[in-house]
Amino acid sequence: MQKFSYILIFLLILVSCEEIIDWDYEENPPLLMVVDGKITDQAKAHKIRLTKPVSELNDIPEPITGAEVSILFKQGNDTIENPLTEALDEPGTYLTDSSFQGITYKYYALQIKHEGYEFLAIDNLRESVPFETANIYTQADNGLYNVNFIYGAFANADAAIWYFNLDWSHLPDTVYAPNGTKKARLAFYSLPSIDVNGLFLSGYETVYFPAGTKIILEKYSISESYAEFLRTMLAETDWRGGVFDTYRANTFTNLSDGATGFFGACGYLADTVVVQP
């Protein structure tokens, strides 16, 4: 019976078709504060981006300007407040002081005050865990290279976000990424859960790059709640469309009512690799 079920699922996948459709979007999206940003244990100006929801795919979100944004943490019995300033050239983006550096295992709170409302989010800064860079790319049949994600996407106790920043703009090759340039920034995720919808997703578009490409690999070690946010976000985005889809629902958030998204505190490590022929 189990074998029969597998055959049936396989046949369903074979005979299903997907096509682009017109969709009647709702005109008025809910009023929400959308928060997207993280701080790390690196001393730099960390970014928090505040925007509004959009009603249609591909719309550019309107930034939320003029908010009072602070990062709070405990030091002994005192609460230290670090106010962020809005970037002049990038409305809706709020920056910490360039010397701001998160401390491992500390809890950080993001406080936003805007138009009489106050929003709060808390995350715990996880320690950064070192990683290997051997075998992070592999040669494809066409002679070019593609990313080989070796760090384990599921059942991984070391939850993390991985960014592969690829750059071959210094090379004369006429190979381009699908985005039309000689650069790409690929995001991968290591999560502690095992999600069948993610295991059987229909697949990412492969980005090929030539020998000599510079890869800056960034790893953000994340908390359990950040991993839960990413799991629910992926269930609503990249993992959707397979036979194991979950019920649609809003993503998990660590923000108080009236806001969505996530404020993360992460351990950070990076390494650079040049693709060898």
Partner: protein, 215 residues
């Protein structure tokens, strides 16, 4: 209906040692009426049925504890089946099915996080797929069923979904179209190509062949 069981939003089920924590409990109700007509004599036989129904659920912690249509709620369902005996060996049949589209949760907007357009929802099952309908036809040739033979056999040739109705099973908001016209997911955060809503459907026009042997 009492003691209905459902999963919490985005339940984590696979190899979860505390799977019971993913369950939520509640109640539901289903009501409606059903009418059917049959003609069982003569060369032309058939059956026609219609049902009007409503099925709702209310589960703690799901849909902010509000009542929502069950996934299998189809207020109108209609089907007609006709069979015509051309001779003692040949029979033609047709079947047409119609039903209100299944409930689905449609986004009320999108938020841009981590370079992805993430849908946001107001309510569970607040929308419906397009109405489901399809027409099947078949021709059957075989032994005369009136003759009480020890061995009987039949060969049925048919077409499932004759007019190629595309009945969607899911609608998604995450695909880009690559240079070959294939629909893909991009995980490149520098990719500014347009993202399209897409629908997935099963079975276009499908020819069928069935052989029955009775002994």
């Amino acid at each position: 209906m009492k003691n209905l069981v459902d999963y919490r939003d985005h339940a984590s089920l696979f190899l979860n040692p505390q799977i019971e924590s993913e369950l939520r409990f509640g109640k539901g109700r289903a009501y409606g009426l059903e009418i059917s007509l049959r003609k069982e004599t003569g060369k032309l036989t058939g059956m026609m049925g219609y049902s009007l129904s409503k099925t709702e659920k209310q589960i703690l912690d799901v849909n902010s504890n509000r009542v929502y249509p069950a996934n299998y709620d189809r207020p109108h369902e209609f089907s007609v089946f006709l069979s015509y005996n051309i001779s003692r060996h040949w029979r033609l049949s047709t079947n047409w099915t119609y039903a209100t589209g299944n409930p689905t949760t449609a986004p009320s907007g999108f938020v841009l996080i981590e370079g992805k357009y993430v849908p946001i929802y107001n309510e569970r099952n607040n929308s419906r797929f397009p109405d489901y309908h399809r027409l099947d036809i078949s021709a059957t040739v075989g032994s005369d069923p009136a003759k009480n033979k020890r061995f009987q056999h039949q060969l049925t040739m048919g077409i499932y979904n004759l007019y190629g109705r595309k009945n969607p099973i899911s609608i998604n908001f995450n695909k880009i179209e690559d240079s070959n016209g294939n629909l893909n997911i991009s995980n490149d955060q520098l990719d500014m190509r347009e993202i399209f809503p897409t629908q997935t459907y099963l079975f276009n026009v499908v020819p069928t062949l069935t052989y029955n042997f009775k002994f």
